[in-house]
Symmetry: C2
Subunit: 222 residues, 2 copies
């Protein structure tokens, strides 16, 4: 929650010793200090207009409409435009939300997961849901996320071939006494970065490889 800028945590009927411990832990974020505690879910969500439960549907037939997590930001934007207040409800790690818990929810949100491994760790499920809201609901707290910059490019050369090329360039530099011995580690680092910045296509990387092989042979012959 703190990572994605959410501040209002309500804990329903927590196990007192664990909850006390979590709150008083060194470095506990402020939202744990300011969290409220209620005895029932109903009490926790009193002021909310839209209540969304979370869970996997493997073992039950839901009694309310199900939406997929990537659709939640659109629903949240609409609700916030109506001055609504949204609660996202998570169940305990072990068994998730009960049927009674879910009867307080307007919708059930499902995280799309692989059919062979549908059940997620609670902390990871929370992170994924809040990430989706934080980056796609402008009102949710995070700054606007920039789109893919123009200068970002794809690559065609495998890391294995780049390593071969980097080794060859280094050999040439050494044979040509281009870089002093005590600079070799730094030079190697910079060559690695440079070769990745070039985003060579396969044909070009083969060409450069051939060229450096030839250069190396010529230097060694001379």
């Amino acid at each position: 929650m703190a990572n994605f800028g959410f501040a209002n945590l309500v804990v329903v009927a927590p196990y007192a010793p664990h909850w006390r411990e979590a709150r008083s832990a060194v470095g506990a974020p402020g939202l744990l200090q300011s969290a409220t505690e209620t005895t029932s879910l109903s009490e926790a969500i009193q002021r909310c207009t839209l209540v969304v439960g979370t869970g996997t549907l493997t073992h039950r037939k839901p009694e309310q409409p199900v939406i997929s997590l990537p659709s939640l930001p659109e629903l949240a934007r609409r609700e916030l435009a109506n001055n609504g207040r949204i609660a996202l409800v998570f169940g305990p790690e072990k068994h998730g939300l009960t049927r009674e818990d879910l009867s307080y929810c307007h919708h059930l949100v499902e995280i799309p997961t692989d059919a062979n491994q549908p059940s997620m760790n609670l902390g990871q499920a929370v992170a994924v849901c809040l990430y989706e809201l934080a980056v796609r609901v402008p009102e949710a707290g995070l700054d606007q996320v920039p789109s893919l910059p123009e200068h970002i490019r794809t690559s065609e050369t495998t890391a294995g071939n780049l390593d071969i090329l980097a080794g060859l360039v280094e050999d040439v530099m050494t044979e040509a006494e281009y870089s002093p011995h005590n600079m070799q580690a730094a030079t190697r680092h910079n060559i690695r970065l440079m070769l990745r910045r070039l985003h060579m296509n396969s044909a070009d990387s083969r060409r450069v490889l051939g060229l450096f092989r030839r250069i190396l042979r010529r230097i060694r012959l001379s």
Copy 2:
């Protein structure tokens, strides 16, 4: 990884006792069994054409282009369209990727987080990155995610007011001897769900509340 349908895990120089334990754990997913182990990052990524490091930028100035996680699917789609192979590299929990690790990366992907709490738990960072790829890169393994269904609606009435209304409806039913005593728990459950299905706006919920108050009074008077 198993939740989001990713299968190819390479572990670089793991701490042997922990790694052995993780692999042999009861219920460990198949991807742990089939994971490969290398002694260096360079070896792990040999066959990949695009290598993307992850991390927060709080304490360093990156040496390669940085993209925000929501832009990663677009980059991945382009790379896959070129028949490329992508590696996503995560560092250890404690200190993340080193400067040397990053020199093997074409790009650095950053998870947008709150400036007050930028550093994420490793498992949650992995979950968020793989979720983003799984739902927005069609080739990534998960089935196509449906968009928000037409019938999904927002709500204007707070959960608190719905509870008051539900209590009133129940009182009316009891006074009118509508539902048998042994059905009360089931009836309460169904009323709760129905009131949420109706998605009443504020004015309508006030109207219905007033009506049921009147009905209750009339029944009690009769």
